[in-house]
């Protein structure tokens, strides 16, 4: 019952790649300077600043990559499961099954397996789980 259509492939743009590359170079540069400031000049304050800049840059980079990955060209093309309920008006026998093409509400269907009276489609609906909304 559930069908899925294949979404088109997503390419990361060259513009985004250039930005990512620049940030990567700057962040690595900042981290290098932080280490350099501690080793050569024992300047902890400047090293701290560079470290901060470096990590902010890397975090930004990670966020950008995550966003690029998180937004694929996906379209929710799943066919929801639709339920048809068939009821015997005489004995109350109930048959619940997946929707089939040609079903409609108040359609008379096959005879009841219990009393042989004609059964009728009394409801057609889909159930939605709240987290989907």
């Amino acid at each position: 019952m559930t069908e899925k259509a294949e979404p088109p492939a997503r390419n990361i743009s060259s513009f985004l790649l250039v930005i990512i590359l620049i940030i990567l170079v700057l962040s690595l540069g900042a981290l290098y300077l932080a280490v350099d400031a501690v080793i050569r000049e024992n300047d902890v304050v400047n090293a701290g600043y560079f470290m901060l800049i470096g990590f902010i840059g890397l975090s930004l980079l990670a966020y950008m990559l995550l966003q690029a990955k998180r937004k694929p060209l996906r379209v929710p093309f799943e066919m929801p499961q639709v339920i048809t309920t068939i009821l015997c008006q005489k004995c109350g026998f109930k048959n619940v099954r997946d929707f089939q093409r040609g079903d409609y509400i108040f359609k008379e269907t096959e005879p009841c397996p219990k009393c042989n009276e004609k059964m009728m489609i009394t409801s057609i609906y889909r159930e939605v789980k709240e987290k989907e909304k």
Partner: protein, 371 residues
């Protein structure tokens, strides 16, 4: 912060490189900030446009497949479907609005006739119910095509003119448009299967009331039944199912009023209505007025008819959002039909006398709902 940053790291060569890059970026953002913002927006619109194209193509593909499967045409319907997708309707001139309703009605009649004719040619083996469903499929596919083309137009225009404001106005409304487009894809799918949609809530209420009673056709695609209800004579009407159609309920209500020489105690109209965010789907609300959507022709006719005889019009609405309205009917909306029936019964008990004649009109697309 900026002077502090510029003094960082002493006289190390790399520090200088770092500082120069920092200043270059800073200056670039001052002079080209708006342009960078625009490029980001263009990228966003581009992504949504690709999704819209995918949805449009999916709708088209589904329409062609369904026509081939149901209609069993001798020749490939692709060319006809593609022509149909580019269909346009030129609305009547409204400089002098007097009589525009009838002009619009004529135009809609011609359009309906044309659609039905085209579908007969595309799907010669389809029966009337299937033809109505196919018409719905194609109409939703046309809507998807229009949405795609309009967004593409603004995207290309924005790129061509490099105008932030052209791109910005598209980018701002895109989330709402995407939501609507996704709902339309669900509609195409539901129509290909002939599943009842949320919009059919009003038709479902009427169907439940008239089921088991003799029906007659009183207007184009509209059936009515006379049903005893709480000691009153209820003239219940809905569009003729189970094919996908909304019919002409305006003509149906006017006809019943005319047949009863205006002696109708009240008209109750039941329809699905747009819910606000935060409201639950399937909530039922009451009020007054002609509860009917569409281009306005039917609402106009109903209002004219009830005004002539001073008949009160009551509305019972079942709330749902656009996504639910055009997707297969949710359980909450299906269950709301019983709540709406209880409201209608209470309403006519409180507002009419025993033996009165009332009209109960279930409005909406009756796809997948018989009577």
């Amino acid at each position: 912060m900026i002077p502090q940053l510029s003094q960082l790291g002493g006289d190390n060569a790399l520090t200088w490189v770092f500082q120069i890059i920092f200043y270059v970026i800073f200056v670039a953002f001052i002079f080209y900030g708006q342009r960078i913002q625009m490029y980001i927006m263009i990228r966003e619109v581009e992504g949504s446009l690709a999704r819209l194209k995918f949805m449009r193509d999916e709708g088209r593909k589904l329409a062609i497949e369904t026509i081939k499967e149901i209609g069993k045409p001798q020749e490939d319907p692709t060319e006809r479907v593609d022509r149909f997708l580019e269909y346009i309707a030129v609305l009547p001139e409204s400089m002098d609005p007097s009589g525009i309703v009838w002009k619009l009605e004529h135009l809609l009649d011609v359009q309906d006739f044309r659609f039905k004719d085209d579908i007969k040619l595309m799907a010669p083996q389809a029966d009337e119910t299937q033809r109505n469903n196919l018409e719905n499929v194609l109409v939703w596919a046309v809507d998807l095509n229009i949405i795609y083309k309009i967004i593409r137009h603004f995207y290309l225009l924005g790129k061509k003119t490099l105008s932030l404001y052209v791109i910005m106005q598209v980018q701002m409304v895109l989330p709402l448009i995407m939501r609507e487009a996704e709902a339309f894809v669900s509609a195409v799918k539901a129509c290909t299967m002939g599943q009842p949609m949320g919009d059919g809530a009003g038709a479902l209420v009427a169907a439940k009331l008239m089921h088991g009673h003799k029906t007659r056709k009183i207007a184009k695609d509209i059936v009515a039944a006379t049903v005893p209800l709480e000691g009153r004579i209820a003239h219940v009407l809905k569009s003729e199912g189970p094919g996908g159609t909304v019919g002409k309920p305006g003509d149906g209500i006017s006809q019943i009023i005319k047949e009863n020489k205006g002696k109708i105690a009240t008209v109750v109209m039941i329809d699905a209505a747009q819910k606000l965010e935060g409201e639950k789907p399937g909530d039922v609300a009451e009020g007054v007025g002609a509860a009917i959507g569409g281009p306005g022709v039917d609402q106009f006719k109903i209002e004219e008819s009830v005004l002539k005889y001073k008949i009160p019009v009551n509305a019972v609405i079942i709330k749902e959002d656009i996504g639910d309205a055009v997707s297969p009917m949710r359980k909450e909306i299906f269950d709301a039909a019983d709540t709406a029936i209880q409201r209608i019964k209470r309403l006519i008990l409180e507002r009419t006398k025993e033996g009165d004649a009332v009209i109960i009109a279930g409005i909406g697309n009756t796809i997948g709902i018989g009577q």
